[in-house]
Amino acid sequence: MTTTMQGQVALVTGASRGIGKAIAQQLTQQGVKVIGTATSDSGAAAISDYLGDMGEGRQLDVTDAESVATVLKAIDESYGQLDILVNNAGITKDNLLMRLKDDDWDAVLDTNLKSVYRLCKAVMRGMMKRRHGRIINISSVVGTTGNPGQTNYCAAKAGLAGFTKALAQEIAARGITVNCVAPGFIDTDMTKSLTDDQKEAIFANIPASRLGQPEEVAAAVVFLASPGAAYITGETIHVNGGLAMV
C-alpha cells in the first residue's frame, strides 16, 4: 500500500477562506498539489497567493455545469490526474420556513447539493479509469440534527449524506471512496453571521464549550484522503466538539 500522498492532485471548492482554505493548506503539507476554487477572480487570486508553488486558485461557479467542465479540463491539461475531490463550497440563506423565499431554497440546494452531483459526475471517469479516488463532501451537523431557520441548508446537507452512501456503493469496487465530514460550529465567516441568540443556544450544547477551528475539520478531511482510509467509505465523520454524537 502506498503510504504517502506525495504527488497527488486535489480539487477543493470554496477554498478562499474558512474550512476550505484550511483543507487546501493541510493537503499541500502532505505534498498534494491543490487546485482551490472561489466564485470570484479575486478569491481565486488569493488562493493562488497562499498556495504558492503547491497549486493554484481558479474561479469556479459550482452551480454552472460549463464552469465545472472548464476547470476540470484545465486540471486535466495541467496535471493529467485528479486524486482527491473535496466538495466544500457552500452557502446559507437562513430564514424560518414561513418566510423562506423560493430563490433562497433553490440557491442553497443548488450550491450545496446539486453542485456535488455535478462535480462528482465530472470527475468519475478519470477516477474510475485510474482505479483510485477520494471524494470528501463537507456536510454539517445540522444535516443530522436539524436547526430552526435552516430548512434549506439542513435539507441540502442531509441530502449529501444520502448521496454519499449511494455513490460510495456504486464505485467502492473501483477503489474510490466517498465520505462526508460534518463540521459542527466552526469559527468561520459563516458562523459569524449567526445571531447572538443562536450562538448562546449552541454553546450551551457543545460539551467542548468552544467553537471548532477550521484546521480541526481539515485534519479529518486529510485523513479520509489518505491511503490509510482506503477501507472507509459511505461514512460521515462528525467534527463537532461533542455537540451531537451519532
Binding site: R125, M128, K129, E170, I171, A173, R174
Partner: protein
C-alpha cells in the same frame, strides 16, 4: 490493422476479464459475460477511447451485447 470486430472484442476481453471464446456475437454483457451495470458503463468508456468517439447516454444504454457494440462502432466509424 485489426478489424472493428477484433478491436471491439479485444476491449471486451480486457474490460470484463473474460475468455476470447466466450465473446460470441450474441453474448449479453450482463447475462452471459458476468458484467454488472458499472462494468458496462466502463466498457462504453473504453470503446469511446479506442474509437475516439463520444457515445450518447441513450445509445450507450442500448449496447448490451457484443454484436450491439460492433454494430454501433461500425455505423459510427466514419462520423
Amino acid at each position: 490493422m485489426s478489424t472493428i470486430e477484433e478491436r471491439v472484442k479485444k476491449i471486451i476481453i480486457e474490460q470484463l476479464g473474460v475468455k476470447e471464446e466466450e465473446v460470441k456475437s450474441e453474448a449479453s454483457f450482463e447475462n452471459d459475460l458476468g458484467a454488472d451495470s458499472l462494468d458496462t458503463v466502463e466498457l462504453v468508456m473504453a470503446l469511446e477511447e479506442e474509437f475516439e468517439t463520444e457515445i450518447p447516454d441513450e445509445e450507450a444504454e442500448k449496447i448490451r451485447t457484443v454484436q450491439a457494440a460492433i454494430d454501433y462502432v461500425t455505423n459510427h466509424a466514419n462520423d
